[in-house]
């Protein structure tokens, strides 16, 4: 079945999501926040693609742009299915609807992701009706099955959100996304708000569900230690752009981009003998309103030279490393894995 389908389920080409900043009496657009600023990314069917980066680098916006929850301003979002390729950005609301059941999202904050005014079933009933799940008994059964799929008792569907713990709410969020039997799920920091033991539990659940239902995940997180365990490939984002993308073990084994090196060096290590060499980045993330010229990372990069300040590096494979290891750095060939102890 999967063999007939294209390898890439989703391809982003030059995707930009700029939020306008309005000012003056007439609310003219005076500038824009370049939250996602030209992202090329392909997601393979069945994989878990980790998307990591600091707060404010645009990773959540990228996830929401894919689902058109944030309106992207340029580029293509190409979704492949048995019906061929289609650019989700070009579709009208009505045309988009059939694709809504193929792409879903799990949110970060378990406290705002459920409507406090209704029981779980009442709040979710409109969705089940919209997708034609039959009469009330049938719809209740569907939601009950979903609850069981995420290891919750079926009768919990008549409870209010405030009656659940954070981990339970997150599992309800997962059940909700599964309701329409999606192919691709954007997980927007699904475990960041949970404590460590619950994190493991929810990750395990996500992993099991992926195997049972042939899901593809885009897993957005700022926690690198989670991605190593969970993701097949990892894309590192900085200021609206992807700076490095490779297989998990590649990223952790042969880190190429100086920014990724700094990120990885910041993972705490529970080993007293191993002194990890911590690379501390100077300064803050620059404002996405006016990103630095050339390589956006150059003001904080130890290796920055004139070319970094002037030219924007392309995301491309580099000579001595595997073809699917892409990095956007002018100096990658001379530096190599320098700095990674």
């Amino acid at each position: 079945m999967n063999d007939q389908l294209p390898e890439n389920i989703l391809e982003l080409r030059g995707l930009k999501t700029h939020y306008p900043i309005r000012g003056g009496v007439f609310r003219r657009t005076v500038d824009s926040i370049k939250a996602v600023d030209g992202v090329d990314l392909s997601v393979r069917r069945g994989e878990v693609l980790g998307l990591v980066g600091e707060s404010g680098c645009g990773k959540s916006t990228l996830g929401k742009s894919i689902l058109r929850l944030a309106l992207s301003t340029a580029g293509e979002i190409v979704f492949s299915s048995e019906n061929g390729e289609v650019d989700l950005r070009q579709l009208t609301r009505a045309e988009l609807f059939p694709y809504r059941r193929r792409l879903q999202i799990i949110f970060q904050d378990p406290h705002s992701s459920l409507n406090p005014a209704f029981t779980i079933f009442t709040a979710f009933d409109d969705v089940l009706k919209r997708y034609g799940y039959g009469d009330k008994e049938a719809r209740r059964a569907v939601l009950g099955d979903l609850f069981e799929a995420v290891n919750m008792p079926r009768h919990y569907i008549d409870r209010y959100p405030h009656e659940f713990s954070g981990g339970q709410r997150q599992r309800i969020g997962i059940a909700r996304a599964l309701a329409v039997d999606p192919e691709l799920i954007v997980c927007d920091e699904p475990v960041s708000a949970l404590d460590a033991s619950i994190q493991a539990q929810v990750l395990k659940l996500l992993q099991n569900l992926r195997q049972e239902r042939n899901l593809t995940y885009i897993f957005i997180t700022h926690d690198l230690s989670v991605t190593e365990y969970f993701c097949d490939r990892i894309a590192v984002m900085y200021l609206g752009k992807i700076v490095e993308i490779a297989k998990s073990e590649e990223i952790f084994g042969t880190t190429l981009h100086p920014y990724t090196q700094a990120l990885i060096s910041a993972i705490p290590v529970a080993d007293l003998d191993r002194k990890s060499k911590r690379i501390v980045l100077e300064g803050d993330v620059p404002s996405p309103v006016s990103p630095p010229s050339g390589c956006a990372f150059h003001p904080r990069c130890r290796f920055a030279t004139d070319i970094c300040r002037q030219q924007t590096p392309k995301l491309q494979p580099s000579k001595d490393y595997p073809k699917d290891h892409l990095v956007a750095c002018h100096r990658v060939e001379e530096l190599g894995v320098l700095g990674h102890a």
Binding site: L67, I105, F107, L114, N115, A117, A123, D126, Y160, H162
Partner: protein, 310 residues
């Protein structure tokens, strides 16, 4: 714990045993199944408010069955009589029965106060919810319009309308709605602006649920709490405003009995000092009604919020 020795039960144990026995017999589960209603009824102030509200409302509606007098009938042989068995609350300057006037006046006053507050609330909520959720030019336009309505002095608007359309009940109602919707709209708008960023709203969008359903069915219930309170407060304010405008001769035509028109008799110093039965009972009724409505509003707010225990 020693199983064989007879366990000495404390009083606490016994009382717990009793509660458990009741629970197992099913005697403790409430007969009222609707959660919000149960919470509302278990709030003593709210229940008292409902009772007070209903008493005043029902006596106003069934006024002809309660008092034999016509509230408009002038009786020149019984001017300014103190309360007696014949006239329970005495008579006014032209011999009309005060009790009858209070009951009949309640019809108009409650209709104006509650009617315009509810109508203004519905209008403000309907506009505010959708415009705040959709944003864009519609929201900008409505916001400016509401500012104009808020900035415009109510009294000027009343003068304008009365001089154009004449003095009538409906005009007063329209004026109250026109001046009352804007604060409700702004309140709902502010709430919805913050609620629309909640992730459950985005989840519904990700499922392609239509805009009106998201706005009115899913977001609105979370924004209604402060609005119900505002509606009850407006009811009180409109009843008082009706009294004020009637005093100026701009409100309900004087011959129609309303609580405001009755109270206006007290603008005469002699009546204020000597004939307490003309203004005191109606003043108390207005206070009691406003209080009852406010209690109901508080109860509604608490019972509609599922995160509050009780």
């Amino acid at each position: 714990m020693n199983q064989h020795a007879p366990v000495r039960k404390s009083r606490l144990d016994r009382s717990f045993d009793r509660i458990r026995a009741l629970e197992e017999a099913g005697a403790l589960s409430s007969r009222v199944h609707n959660r919000s209603l149960r919470k509302f009824l278990s709030n003593p102030l709210a229940s008292a408010g409902v009772i007070m509200f209903l008493i005043i409302l029902l006596t106003a509606i069934f006024a002809p069955l309660i008092v034999p007098y016509d509230p408009l009938k002038i009786d020149l042989r019984a001017l300014l009589q103190p309360p007696s068995a014949e006239h329970w609350l005495g008579t006014d300057k032209v011999g009309r029965d005060v009790f009858a006037r209070i009951l009949y006046g309640g019809r108009i006053s409650i209709f104006i106060g509650l009617g315009s507050a509810v109508a203004a609330g519905v209008l403000g909520v309907a506009i505010g919810c959708i415009s705040a959720y959709k944003r864009g030019w519609l929201d900008a336009v409505v916001l400016r319009v509401s500012e104009v309505f808020i900035a415009f002095p109510q009294i000027i608007l009343v003068l304008l309308l009365v001089s154009i359309l004449g003095q009538s009940l409906i005009n007063l109602l329209l004026i109250f709605i026109a001046t009352g919707w804007a604060p409700m709209y702004r309140m709902v708008r502010a709430r919805v602006l913050s609620l629309r960023e909640e992730e459950y709203v985005q989840a519904l969008e990700a499922f392609g649920i239509s805009t009106p359903v998201i706005a009115y069915k899913h977001i609105l219930p979370n924004a209604l709490g402060p609005v119900t309170v505002q509606i009850t407060l407006s009811t009180a304010a409109f009843i008082l405003a009706e009294a004020g405008l009637s005093f100026l001769g701009l409100g309900v035509p004087l011959q129609i009995p309303t609580w405001g028109n009755i109270l206006n008799a007290a603008n005469d110093m002699r009546i204020l000092e000597q004939n307490w039965w003309i203004w005191l009972p109606v003043g108390l009724v207005i206070s009691a009604f406003v209080l009852a409505v406010n209690f109901i509003g508080d109860g509604l707010r608490d019972s509609s919020d599922p995160t509050q225990q009780g």
